[in-house]
């Protein structure tokens, strides 16, 4: 049970139970759908981008606790962020959840997102944690493609 509490941290459980920025924002000019074909998780990310900055963001969808909490925390994290910085943040986050060492490196710029460090012990859950981020990237690219974790 203790190992599981490392994965399912209180913050993750809280965001799973009451996801923030859930639903379509009042105004949005970018959107993308994401799909994890392995478990059937689906997500839609909506963005309101103005002057190179994410002014507003929302998401909808159904997924496991890790994917829902990741989407919720991601929306909080990138709201107000310059679009140019999103790529670096995703890279940091990806490193956090996929690193092979048990010792988690300090990545201060990730702030609250460090609660996902426990995912690195469960490689099958990496796709759950990154689905929202893949979808955010598609929404910014606006190429109409459905973001996939495969």
């Amino acid at each position: 049970m203790d190992e599981l509490r490392d994965l399912y941290q209180a913050t993750i459980m809280d965001h799973n139970r009451s996801p923030r920025n859930f639903g379509q924002p009042d105004s949005s000019n970018h959107r993308a759908d994401g799909h994890n074909p392995v478990c059937g998780d689906k997500i839609t990310v909506y963005l309101d981008v103005r002057d190179g900055r994410i002014e507003d963001i929302g998401f909808e969808g159904a997924g496991c606790a890790i994917s829902t909490a990741s989407a919720s925390l991601m929306t909080e994290f990138v709201k107000g962020m310059e679009v140019a910085r999103v790529g670096d943040s995703f890279e940091c986050f990806h490193e956090l959840v996929t690193g092979s060492e048990l010792e988690v490196p300090e990545i201060p710029e990730l702030g609250k997102l460090v609660v996902f460090a426990g995912v690195r012990a469960y490689p099958v859950r990496v796709k759950c944690a990154t689905l929202a981020w893949h979808t955010l990237r598609s929404a910014l690219a606006e190429d109409g493609a459905v973001a996939k974790t495969e």
Partner: protein
């Protein structure tokens, strides 16, 4: 089987059965393995592992071509499994047994070979809303190519096909009905005798996907009267890589080959090739010889355990599991057909199946979480996914208890 009849069957000695499956004594995450995912692929008894290993160690050669003793011997053993399989499913003639990789390949073979020569523009292929993707996509591909229509019989809230609904979906353009004998996502046992009668009364051939039926019950294709019956060896406690297509001889005989190559020809020149007789016509290239040998060992093993004992034990186990799950208010079982095998798909209120399976895994309990390759079934019951626990004859009441304890832990964690 009635309760009275069941009482007459010598009960299954489940501990003895478990000792036949070496993997069942291992641990996972420091806990004894509780394997509840046999519907995805089942575990193998030692006799199957030994048969394959012995074949590779002392009997292996290619079949149907060598003039030397070893090849002749391998051919005899391979062909002996055709006879074992014929007897196992009650087919009339061993030539009606075609070895393929799995049920998926068997359905593709029929859709490609039979389908392309019998389905034309505007025709219809009828399936049900509870099919595995393997019994949807091959027909969809055929219909797309031919400009035909794929029609789908809906299922009721219990997860059953209603015969009246089936009748309404048959038309003068229906060329093939292809449904599962048992649903992989719901456990429903379909009324195949009635479905076959309905199809044949209108002159329509019928394929039954038996992948989830043969591991749970004695099947007799001649009594059922179907035209095609398919299953995978790996769900039948045999190795992965060997599966079976049964086809009525008359139909198989008139069908063009599926794959071209060696072993399926009578003579080849650059101008013209004459195809071999059935079943060789459909077994192009070197097959999974050891896999077929292993399948034969699995069937012989099951017959030695006895179908009556297996079925009686599974009914007992399912009743126990259904009662224990019913005592957890957060559990909603999806698929409550009046006749079903112990495939228990369920939704645990407030917790995604992926999380359920993860917590159960930490307790050593292996279940499947997801759409079970049956996305239309998930849509029908308005869930993104389910958790599925399957019971096989090697499972016990204490396996069910471990599942229930695991679910209590999930609820505690997600409280």
């Amino acid at each position: 089987m009635s309760t009275a009849e069941r009482a007459l069957v010598a009960p299954l000695d489940v501990e003895k059965v478990r000792a036949d499956f070496p993997i069942l004594s291992r641990s996972v995450h420091g806990k004894p393995l509780v394997f509840l995912d046999s519907a995805a692929s089942s575990q193998k008894p030692q006799v199957v592992i030994d048969a394959m290993s012995e074949f590779y160690s002392s009997g292996y050669a290619n079949i149907h071509r060598g003039l030397y003793e070893l090849s002749a011997e391998a051919t005899r053993r391979y062909e002996a499994v055709r006879e074992i399989t014929r007897n196992f499913i009650g087919a009339g003639d061993a030539r009606e047994i075609v070895f393929v990789r799995n049920a998926t390949e068997a359905i593709n073979l029929v859709a490609h070979s039979w389908g392309r020569s019998h389905v034309s523009e505007g025709d219809e292929v009828l399936i049900s809303a509870m099919e595995h993707h393997a019994n949807i996509v091959p027909w969809q591909m055929l219909c797309e190519e031919k400009g035909a229509v794929l029609r789908v019989v809906p299922i009721n809230d219990r997860g059953e096909i209603e015969l009246e609904a089936l009748e309404q979906h048959i038309s003068s353009r229906t060329r093939m009905i292809s449904v599962c004998h048992v649903s992989n996502a719901l456990g429903t046992i379909n009324p195949v005798d009635e479905i076959v009668s309905m199809a044949h009364a209108r002159g329509i051939p019928i394929l039954l996907d038996g992948a989830q039926a043969v591991p749970h019950m004695k099947v007799n294709v001649e009594e059922i009267g179907c035209d095609f019956y398919v299953f995978s060896g790996h769900k039948l406690f045999g190795p992965s890589g060997a599966g079976v297509l049964y086809g009525r001889l008359e139909l198989l005989d008139a069908m063009p080959p599926f794959l071209g190559g060696g072993d399926m020809i009578e003579s080849v020149s650059f101008e013209k090739t004459t195809y071999a007789e059935v079943p060789q016509r459909f077994e192009a290239g070197t097959p999974d010889i050891a896999g077929v040998i292993g399948l034969g060992a699995a069937i012989e093993y099951l017959e030695s355990v006895g179908w009556d004992a297996i079925e009686a034990w599974e009914v007992e186990l399912m009743d126990y599991a259904v009662d224990r799950l019913a005592a957890i208010p957060e559990v909603r079982v999806i698929g409550t057909a009046r006749r079903k095998v112990p495939v228990l798909s369920f939704d645990l209120e407030g917790v995604h199946p992926h999380d359920v399976a993860m917590v159960l895994d930490q307790e050593g309990v292996a279940v499947r979480a997801g759409h079970h390759c049956a996305q239309p079934v998930m849509e029908r019951f308005e869930v993104p996914a389910t958790t599925r626990a399957t019971l096989a004859f090697y499972n016990t009441r204490s396996d069910v208890d471990a599942l229930v304890r695991g679910l209590e832990k999930v609820l505690e964690l997600f409280d």
